[in-house]
Assembly symmetry: C2
Homo-oligomer: 206 residues x 2
DNA sequence: AAGTTGTACGAACGATCGTACTATTACTTT
DNA sequence: AAAGTAATAGTACGATCGTTCGTACAACTT
């Protein structure tokens, strides 16, 4: 249990921290987690640079906190709504559709935060990369488990390879996110939906 | 016709420029085109910062030249070999396979240069972004034209939508590139190959 | 009321960034 | 041999980076 603090100082600090992180995730989704700078953050929020810095103690801590803040937002928009649907094909479809809407609605101005972060750190070592890959692994496991449940319920072909299908489905998501951003073309999301629909249609003879 | 210069100064300058750009594409594939810095480049190559700078006159010109250099490398490894194969399914398969090998062989240490660059600039305006999106468009057109040729030759299902299939195929490529980098797992390339094979198999009844 | 704690500020640090100017050196042209 | 040109080096600039430090002030504890 986390008790709500009655200490006005801490409440004020938390509010500031939230404001910083809300701005941080938006900046990072566009400029990258490395492009995110403390001075820029301070200027945007009209506070002092040292004030921002004091909340995290180090640039890397700011980056890690930004990742955690982004995760909370994705959980709100994508994961939790899907988990409210009964396991099976419905949940899987909801999960994928929620992700596409989360990306398309530009919850982050730079599209999916984690796609940007993954692409930025995919070839660099360090704790920031580790935090990003861990988030990626959890997302993959979630999608794969939804596929597996749907298959076990007989809502997908019996010979379905969950890991393979998961790879293909998430490939469509990321491709739609990237293409729509690069070419400012929402048609990419329609392409992803078409591809997903075809891939999740139970193969009927004839 | 471009005449080979006999001016030793210019030849030396060209050699230096090539060395700079070869290092630049490698750095940029890992750290990003923005992470690429003139000072870092000079230190790595053991030349003066102003010497590097003089070759380009501005950071942005260095970035644009780096993009052109990367294109030449991709053309060598992927595009040209595929265009040597007769149009149709063979050419399409060659193109996709060459791309997967180019990514997997880490021709650039950070995987596909253009995937990294696209993800970095997909939400930022400017000439660098424009150059990257243009390269992306040309790649898409190439893949799509190969699909279209294969379809017209009757090597793909008659109801094939070239743009849609192109979207799905390139989605598999990018996903393999990203996943293999993030999790240091070559299995991603196998998944992409499986997905591509299934997608390019002419649907036979039964 | 006195003392403690937590937030935020302002100034300054060394490092690095991109860029601008001025040699210096090597080669070509006349 | 002299003049000219191109590549590279050297130095310095203003800006920004992450970080440190001392301080002011508000809020809580005793």
């Amino acid at each position: 249990m986390i008790e709500a603090s009655t200490d006005g100082r801490i409440q004020r600090g938390d509010a500031t921290r939230r404001a910083i992180l809300r701005r941080a995730v938006d900046i990072a989704s566009v400029e990258g987690l490395d492009g995110l700078s403390i001075g820029r953050l301070a200027t945007d929020l009209q506070v002092s640079k040292s004030g921002v810095f004091a909340h995290f103690g180090a640039k890397q801590e700011l980056q890690l906190a930004t990742i955690r803040a982004a995760r909370a937002i994705v959980d709100d928009h994508v994961v939790r709504p899907a988990l409210e649907v009964a396991p099976g094909l419905d949940r899987l479809r909801t999960l994928l559709d929620r992700w596409l809407r989360y990306s398309q609605d530009r919850v982050f101005p730079g599209g999916c935060f984690f796609f940007a972060a993954q692409a930025e750190f995919d070839a660099r070592p360090g704790p920031v990369r580790d935090a990003i890959t861990e988030s990626g692994s959890q997302w993959t496991r979630l999608v794969e488990s939804c596929v597996r449940e749907a298959a076990q319920l007989g809502e997908l072909a019996a010979d379905t390879d969950p890991a393979q299908l998961c790879f293909e489905l998430t490939a469509f998501l990321d491709a739609a996110n990237l293409f729509s951003l690069l070419h400012d073309d929402p048609l990419a999301y329609e392409r992803a939906r078409v591809a997903i629909r075809a891939r999740l249609r139970f193969p009927t003879p004839g």
